[in-house]
Amino acid sequence: MKIFFIIICSLSLHTLAKDFHIYLDADLSNNVESGESIRNGMQMAIDHYFKNKKENEFTVTIKSLDHRGNTRRSLKNFKLALDDPKMIAVFGGLHSPPLITNKGFINDNQIPTLVTWAAGGPITRTTKKKNWIFRLSVDDSQAGRLISQTAVNEGCQKPHLVLENTPWGKSNENNMRRSLQDLNIKNYEISLFDWAVSKSSASDIANKIKTVKSSCIFFVGNAKDASVIFKSLGESNISIPIYSHWGITSSDSIEMANLIKENNLNVKLIQTNFSFIQKNLNQFQKDILESILKRHSLSSPSKIQPMTGWVHGFDLMTILLNTIEQLEHDKEIKILRSDLRNKLENLNKPIKGLVKEYRRPFSGDNSKNAHEALNINDYVMRSYKSDGSLH
């Protein structure tokens, strides 16, 4: 009888604990490394958070959805997530275009969306009353500036903007233009390319670069397209510095590192200011690193790739969990989501993350960077090492 009672009790306890679904809508096909790294980061955060908890007031399950880079699929995924009464939030992935295009839907349907990677400016900015999209990542409106600044600082006077022909590419274009304007660079070229850029298009761009004699390249695109274009540059013996957005880290970093090396390219790319490789790790960071290495049987920090996904996924999930913790779970999910959104905008307690300790990462004051957890001070320009690690 006692046992029965205990079981019943434990069961009720279980039923008492709210189970939340956290969706990850990412490209798990073509840029699968990015998606997986985000998921791993998210999971690490969950494990770490619940490790020290005696009682679980709530449980969370990650639900991965593959949008394959297709904006419309992303929409479909969001719809799916929306239909799930347990869905508390949706994590966004690498690609900006889906988030930019579907922003309206997300906000209209009150889906708390946490963006770990996509850097497109418009994502976290809305004209609507309530902004449901939160980002812990590079923000293009500030990224462009860094790229431009770095390039100009390093002597580039005639940049060539090689951008993907998507909202992301376009947003970057706008930002870079403004930055360059501010930096008094008027002589620059722009070449747009489509996703799954063809070799011929790539060589056209290369030729154009050669013809106009650009002195450096600003690159905005993902790894797949980057490899095609970089190869073309290599074939055309274009060795001018490339200042790239971090899209090129979307897939195998070793491959990218090799590609860059093979083509004699000088590539610097944006990263957030934390890397498991950096020497001066604090205890917290060390602990997490150890857990990761142990959990995933990795031999060294440089194997944690792509690091962006890991780090941002971890940090953003940590924030989310700490936020959920503060909610009253007995509410209907829609209300819970709304509560969550509100709470996110009003996080008073500092939350320890990998990149930094987050104090009031988001706000609700409709400012430009209200929903940006990181800013330009958190960005750096790094280069690949042969082992794929970024330094």
């Binding site: 394959r68 880079g69 297709n70 904006t71 419309r72 699929r73 275009p97 489509d194 996703w195 799954a196």
Partner: protein, 801 residues
């Protein structure tokens, strides 16, 4: 037995049937093959046409898809599907400018969840799903029978189908099929229930079709008119049949003619030969058994193998008894055989054993058809004489395989022969006797008449004597004629051969008849344009003169007024021969055609009444005819009653040499001083007193003084006693005849053997021969004339000189 015709027609039938069957089989099999071939060809042809067209259409359609794919795989299109920005018109604008392989149409892009990015083409949901699921690489649909097509192709990003590009356009049948320009087939395509046909102004009558799937469930149909092929088949069959028929015809003719030559003809020949053989054998059998001669054939050893009916009858043994069982020894006398063996052995100087060899030795080694006579013993032990003709039977290699004996029962013949000989002998004897008997007195009479003639006579006595002479001569003529006839009949008339001049003989003969002609006031002429020198011949002058004499005599006899002309003409010299024609023409009473017919028969005269008027024995012309024949001539008669008669003789003489004639000398010999010129001691041997007397007188006239002997014996005595130069020996004498006497005299072997001349009334060749054989040098027939004696003496003297 099959007749020629039936074998031929049967063979013809056979050839016809055989080749007809061959033709049929060939044609049938070739027709079948052709039909299959043509069907096959047709099938292939049609399939080829179909396949070509299907491939062409397929190519066209897949090219459209391919071009469409090119667009679908353009990065901007893919991008637009991935970004799915409806407000972005760039994609729609892009497709506004696009034509696929020249085809303009409408485009749409669908998202994975069937949301139009742009465009509004209707589409098949199932097909869309299949494309999305990668079950279909693309789709081509025939929407309407006007040629509306819809093409759908996936838009792929990173090997995943992210959307579908739709292209709808109108393709006219002519654009898809292009024209076929054919009179017997056209095309159409269909998909499910939608059909697209070629637009052809002329309606083709097609009754057949072939199908081939192109792609995406679109099927190409080839509609064709089967009769095109059927016509082709029929044409082909007709051609082939014609060719085969011609070939078969030629072959059959060839085989027919070859067959006729190589099979039928020899077969017919064989049948013919068989028939002939059968007939021949049959004939042989019949001959063998109907012949009266005994036919006995044996093998090499003498065993009888053939024994005909005549043999059975004659010898009394049956064929079964004899054949293969006995030899001819059965009916021969062993002694006879032994004797013959000896004779043959002796004659041929070789040892011939008494046995079968005796019969066949000559046939085997000496000559075929050797004849021998034997005594044959019948079964009943009676005998008959038989003539055996034995021949060796030889095969193709000339090897003796047996012997054939033909035996004739000559018993009767022998008898008859003997009788005949005896009868002939009797006849000859009779004739000889008769002639002797008649001639002897005649000799006497005529001799006396001659002697009387040389004595002084008064006119009356001369007249009577003349009558006596002519009567006597007439009688002598008759006797001579009879003798001649009998000689001719007996074949004992012998011709002499001497060289003489024909012209002269004729003139001499005419001379003899001049008197008679003058008596009847008839002209007796001799016409000849041939030079007498050209007419030297070698023949029997006496007989020739006799012929002419007879003809002249008749001519004069039967002519009352006018003339009798002798003509010789048509001289033809040919090598040794001298051909000439002798004509005796008269202007006498002539002969009727009936008379001419039997003219040369014995004892005929033109008319019994003539005999009475003209006399004659009726033997003259018969003798003349026979004599002409014997002198190598031909006699014919032409006559017209009341006008005259011509006897025309064509002679073929041997050329004569004038230097061989002697007559001329003799004729003109004088009687006086004869003996002194030809000094001879003569002995006359004659038993008949009258003849004796005449002969003495004749000789005395010539100046001789002969001695006399009355018979042969006396003659021999006298010869022993004295030397004589010449003896005239009578043959038929008592005590010792002339022949014997001559022999005796010859036996004496005198230093100077006298010349003995036979003198007799017997005028037969036998006698002549016997005389000469006995040793007589010459032969005189009685009655002898002084002239004859003279001539003989001269001849003998000349001979001895």
């Amino acid at each position: 037995m099959k007749t020629d015709k039936s074998i031929r027609s049967e063979y013809k039938k056979f050839i016809t049937t055989t080749f007809g069957v061959i033709l049929l089989i060939l044609f049938t099999s070739i027709s079948i093959i052709i039909s299959y071939q043509v069907s096959d060809q047709k099938r292939r042809e049609l399939n080829s046409i179909l396949e070509t067209k299907a491939n062409a259409i397929n190519l066209k359609l897949t090219n459209i898809i391919s071009t469409l794919n090119d667009h679908a795989s353009r990065p901007n299109i893919i991008n637009s599907v991935m970004q799915f920005n409806k407000s972005n018109k760039s994609t729609r604008n892009y497709f506004e400018e696009v034509s696929i392989l020249g085809f303009k149409g409408t485009f749409s892009i669908l998202s994975f969840d069937e949301e139009y990015l742009f465009g509004s083409n209707t589409y098949n949901s199932d097909i869309f799903k299949k494309i999305m699921d990668k079950d279909l690489p693309f789709s081509i649909e025939l929407i309407s029978s006007e040629g509306a097509f819809r093409f759908m192709t996936p838009i792929i990003y990173q090997n995943q189908v992210e959307g579908v590009l739709i292209f709808a356009t109108l393709i006219k049948p002519s654009q898809i099929f292009l024209s076929t320009n054919s009179s017997w087939y056209d095309f159409s395509i269909y998909q499910d229930k939608t059909n697209l046909k070629t637009e052809d102004s002329k309606k083709l009558e097609t009754n057949n079709k072939l199908e081939k799937p192109i792609t995406n469930g679109i099927t190409l149909t080839l509609n064709f008119n089967n009769s095109f092929y059927q016509n082709r088949i029929i044409k082909l069959l007709i051609t082939i049949f014609s060719i085969i028929a011609i070939v078969i015809l030629i072959l059959s003719y060839f085989f027919y003619s070859k067959g006729i030559a190589k099979l039928v003809d020899p077969y017919e020949k064989n049948i013919k030969i068989q028939n002939e053989l059968y007939n021949s054998l049959n004939l042989n059998e019949t001959i063998l058994n109907s012949i009266t001669h005994l036919i006995i054939a044996t093998d090499n050893e003498g065993t009888i193998i053939t024994f005909n009916k005549a043999a059975e009858r004659e010898l009394g043994y049956s064929s079964d008894f004899v054949v293969n069982k006995h030899s001819p020894a059965l009916w021969h006398d062993p002694n006879e055989v032994v004797q013959k063996a000896k004779e043959l052995s002796s004659y041929y100087q070789t040892n011939i054993e008494p046995g079968f060899d005796v019969f066949v030795y000559e046939a085997e080694y000496i000559k075929p058809m050797s004849v021998s006579e034997w005594t044959f013993k019948r079964k009943d032990n009676s005998t008959f004489d038989g003539k055996l003709i034995a021949t060796a039977l030889r095969d193709q290699n000339n090897q003796t395989i047996g012997y054939l004996g033909v035996i004739e029962n000559i018993t009767l013949i022998k008898q008859a022969k003997e009788d005949l000989i005896r009868s002939n002998q009797m006849k000859s004897e009779f004739l000889a006797n008769m002639s002797h008997e008649i001639r002897t007195p005649m000799n006497g009479v005529l001799g006396m008449v001659e002697l009387l003639e040389r004595t002084p006579l008064n006119e009356e006595q001369k007249d009577h004597l003349q009558t006596m002479k002519s009567s006597g001569e007439h009688l002598l003529t008759i006797i001579n004629d009879i003798l001649d006839i009998s000689k001719i009949d007996a074949g004992k008339l012998e011709l002499e051969s001497m060289h003489f001049n024909l012209t002269r003989s004729i003139t001499e003969t005419i001379e003899l008849m001049k008197g008679k002609a003058k008596e009847k006031n008839l002209e007796l002429k001799f016409l000849s344009h041939i030079k007498p020198e050209s007419l030297w011949i070698k023949s029997d002058q006496t007989r020739l003169k006799q012929i002419l004499l007879n003809l002249l005599s008749n001519a004069i006899k039967f002519t009352n007024k006018g003339s009798v002309t002798v003509t010789i003409e048509n001289l033809d010299l040919e090598g040794d021969h001298l051909k000439v024609t002798l004509i005796v023409t008269d202007t006498g009473i002539g002969l009727s055609s009936d008379n001419i017919k039997n003219l040369f028969e014995k004892f005929t005269q033109a008319d019994k009444s003539i005999t009475r008027v003209y006399g004659g024995t009726g033997l003259g012309l018969s003798i003349t005819h026979s004599l002409v024949k014997m002198l190598n001539g031909e006699i014919k008669v032409e006559s017209k009653e009341g006008e005259g008669t011509s006897f025309i003789i064509d002679f073929n003489f041997l050329k004569g040499d004038p230097h061989d004639e002697y007559e001329s000398i003799i004729i003109h010999q004088e009687e006086d001083g004869f003996a002194s010129r030809y000094n001879l001691q003569i002995l006359l041997v004659e038993d008949n007193l009258i003849n004796q007397k005449f002969a003495i007188k004749a000789l005395e006239k010539l100046g001789y003084d002969p001695d006399i002997a009355s018979n042969g014996k006396e003659a021999v005595e006298k010869v022993k006693a004295s030397n004589y130069d010449l003896i005239f020996m009578d043959l038929q004498m008592p005590i010792m005849d002339g022949i014997t006497a001559t022999k005796e005299i010859t036996k004496l072997k005198l230093k100077q053997s006298p010349t003995i001349v036979a003198m007799t009334a017997n005028a037969f060749k036998d006698d002549k021969d016997k005389s000469l054989e006995a040793g007589m040098s010459a032969f005189l027939t009685k009655p002898v004339s002084i002239k004859k004696i003279k001539d003989t003496i001269v001849t003998i003297k000349k001979r001895s000189a």
